[in-house]
Amino acid sequence: MAKRTNKILLKGNEAVVYGALLAGCEAYFGYPITPASEIAHASAKLFPALGRTFIQAECEIASINMVYGAAAAGRRCMTASSGLGISLKQEGVSYIAGAELPCVIADIMRGGPGLGNIAPEQSDYNQVVKGGGHGGYKVIVLAPGSVQEMCELTMLAFDLADEYRMPVYVLTDGMIGQMMEKLELPEPRPRRAPQSWALNRVNETKNCVSSIYMEPKDLEELNIRLNKKYAEICAKEQRAELYKMDDAEYAFVAYGISSRMARTAADILRAEGIKIGMIRPQTLFPFPVNAMKQAADNGIKQFISVEMSNGMMIDDIRLAIECKVPVTLLNRMGGNVPSVEEIVKRAKEQIGGCTNV
């Protein structure tokens, strides 16, 4: 057999599919949407090649409900979409959260509101991180900032989904989805053992999956249980990369493609004598509150939230540091990615003479 290598050039979107298959994902259900479509393209090719399920659903709503069904059947399963497509899926996500089923949803964000455009934005933050559907539920949100992480965090997403029995998002922007990088593929995982709660023929018990609790007492109990789970997740699952934070006086906070721009901008600003680092959240729920707090306690004078939205993450930063330090917004909207030059220039303007925007 020809010698194989785990080093490969892949688009971010394709890396999601590789990660899913390596994690033992059994089924993909999706509806085409730019800039997430490569996930469906690669899935259509690769899932059937391994005898696994791929369905191009009739709509976003069908695809999330197929995910609900496959998850209830105890299958590792996923879907992917963007912006408006995620809006359509929200009812289904609420059902999956309410029924405590594991699944993975990749959201490759595009410009909004409305039809918006197909350029990269980060404006699904609120509808994903805050739980865009009805009811008091949360989802774990992982935020890959590279093609390697698109693969690895997708694999992690399946594990977290199983561990906590809840939907886990892989949330990034169209540019991380479309760009190609070298990555090292992790080893494939064995098929996960069937869970006792699943509607699976191997289980002897007759199981029922539902999110209906007619008695307010029972529904309150569910909500209490869910929120206990969310508190546990906040305590155990915060992830963030700290870049040049050891001696930093200022900190960028950014995820996805803007974190890549901010990383280079930080290097340039440091070369000019401004001690700036970056906190890059890899989980948006749970938000890396501990890293933020610690940075504030260590004397960070100002946080700069570099975002491609109207400032959705900035509120979480302020809450995390309890507004003890000024937080400013360095953002672009409408599908514009802030360039390194622009970040450098605006950061300089904001540092010092800033007010808490």
Binding site: P48, A62, N65, Y68, A70, Y95, Q178, M179, R191, C208
Partner: protein
């Protein structure tokens, strides 16, 4: 009608309805005279008699039968309003041995979730859907359904349904029957004993089709809702047997189950070696090992490359070949296609970044170490992004260069004309690749590393075009000409 059936509590029901909250664990929640109880009984009986309790999955809707899972002694799932066919599809596809039984009412199936039932039917999913048509919304309190008859009064059609406002009632069974994929479609009525016996046979026939993996079976049941239709039990049955049956004719709409083959689906593969065989690429033969690094100081810092030209000039694929070189020589490397407004209007560009460490911005939008321009507009638009001491590579056949500052280095070649002579304009990008190799050897590489530049470029061409030998051969030819043809070269690095 010779079969004698003794109705008793079917073994397909739980002995006690433990899933039902509250103290009442023995009775159903349905109103007196409701058809759901009858149909539940027919299904439960069939599940037990046919021996499929362990592999049946009941997919419950929203509506009065939302609580169907209280009763059936098998796996059950409760779905969002109208989405049962999508949920059922997943059960059927991910385990073909499941006997998937969808159960839906008229609002659920024919209104809010109509697309899903039509699409599942049209895909020919291996499942049965039992559709209860009682011409009214029961659970929400007697509103008009998509199947409410013309003239029928409901709380949202207080003066009777009009065609002008609400159109005609939808004949679902007939619609499903006209699709190619479904194997069996019938309409029954849960009214007289005779009709119920027919319904009983239809239930079994449809479930048998699913067990036999014949595909999509659909049975519509005209059913009573005496509470919301404000009728006594006897009037209810008369309504079903006259007005309803008149508009919704009973009987078989389609049955091709005998001539259809069983659906066969592939067994999923999880074997690690087979997964790797699919996902892990065959390694390109390389002249270097995994720990090889160029010593030339040019690579001591992150390097960004921008390639720009018209769409169709092979801009993106040249970028891909260069990125592959980076991968083959153990760099971290990113490749970013032009993304945004500039991808409209026929221009294309891409950025490649090489680095020994983690890559920051993947966009070569300023401080470009090397820029490749294949058309005049690219020069005009992007030249300002070339870093101090940067290198410009350009196609002399189409571009007139402006005056450049002394720190820059310029390499030009008549790539368009060379490619044309080779008979394929698309290989102009490999001519350019040859020029880049030459420039790297001339200006940046240590003496003992010059030969490897060639090696790496050829390896990359093989990795990118190796699947099409003729294409590979032509590109290597173009590359070699790019390395030897007459060129323009001037500027800082050259004069050194």
């Amino acid at each position: 009608m010779s079969e004698i059936v003794k109705f008793s509590r079917p073994a397909g029901f739980f002995p006690k309805f433990e899933r039902r909250p509250g103290p009442n664990k023995t009775n159903m929640h349905y109103c007196p005279g409701c058809g759901h109880g009858i149909l539940h009984k027919l299904i439960a009986e069939a599940i037990a008699d046919m021996g499929i309790k362990d592999r049946a999955v009941i997919v419950c809707p929203v509506g009065c039968s939302v609580f169907a899972y209280y009763y059936f002694d098998c796996h059950s799932v409760e779905c969002a309003h109208g989405r049962a066919p999508a949920v059922a599809t997943a059960f059927s596809r991910t385990d073909p041995e499941n006997v998937v039984i969808g159960y839906q009412g008229d609002g659920d199936l024919a209104s809010i979730g109509f697309n899903h039932i039509l699409q599942a039917a049209n895909r020919g999913e291996n499942m049965v859907v039992f559709f209860v048509n009682n011409a009214i919304y029961g659970m929400t309190g007697g509103q008009m359904a998509p199947t409410t008859l013309v003239g029928q009064k409901t709380v949202t059609s207080p003066n009777g349904r009009t065609i002008l406002d609400s159109g005609y009632p939808i004949k679902v069974a007939e619609m499903i029957a006209q699709f190619e994929a479904p194997v069996y479609v019938e309409r029954c009525a849960l009214s007289s004993v005779k009709n119920i016996m027919t319904a009983r046979r239809a239930v079994r026939k449809a479930i048998q089709n699913t067990i036999d993996k014949k595909g999509f079976s659909f049975v519509e049941f005209l059913s009573g809702c005496p509470i919301n239709l404000k009728m006594k039990a006897k009037e209810m049955n008369e309504f079903l047997d006259t007005k309803m049956s008149q508009y919704y004719p009973l009987g078989l709409k389609k049955d091709v189950s005998a001539e259809r083959e069983a659906i066969v689906r592939a067994e999923p593969i999880y074997d690690a070696d087979k997964v790797k065989e699919l996902l892990f690429p065959v390694e390109t033969e390389r002249a270097v090992d995994d720990d090889f690094q160029y010593k030339s100081e040019v690579f001591d810092q992150e390097r960004s490359v921008k390639i720009c030209g018209f769409g169709g000039q092979g801009v993106l694929s040249l970028g891909h070949v260069i990125a592959t070189v980076g991968k083959l020589r153990n760099f971290n490397v990113s490749w970013l296609p032009s993304y945004g407004p500039e991808m409209r209007g026929g221009t294309a560009n891409c950025s490649i970044v090489f680095s020994r460490g983690p890559i920051g911005s993947p966009q070569a939008d300023f401080n470009c170490s090397m820029m490749v321009c294949l058309n005049q507009p690219s020069v005009d638009k992007f030249l300002g992004q070339l870093a101090e001491g940067g290198v410009l590579i350009y196609d002399t056949s189409t571009i007139t260069l402006p005056e450049l500052s002394a720190d820059k280095t310029v390499y030009g070649i008549n790539a368009g004309e060379i490619a044309e002579q080779l008979g394929d304009l698309r290989v102009a990008n490999s001519v350019i690749l040859g020029l880049i190799a030459r420039m790297m050897q001339d200006c940046f590489m240590n003496e003992d590393e010059k030969a490897d530049v060639d090696c790496a470029m050829i390896e990359s061409l093989k990795e990118n075009y190796g699947k099409k030998p003729a294409v590979l051969e032509l590109n290597i030819k173009a590359y070699n000409i790019g390395k030897t043809a007459d060129i323009v070269c001037k500027g800082a690095r050259v004069s050194k």
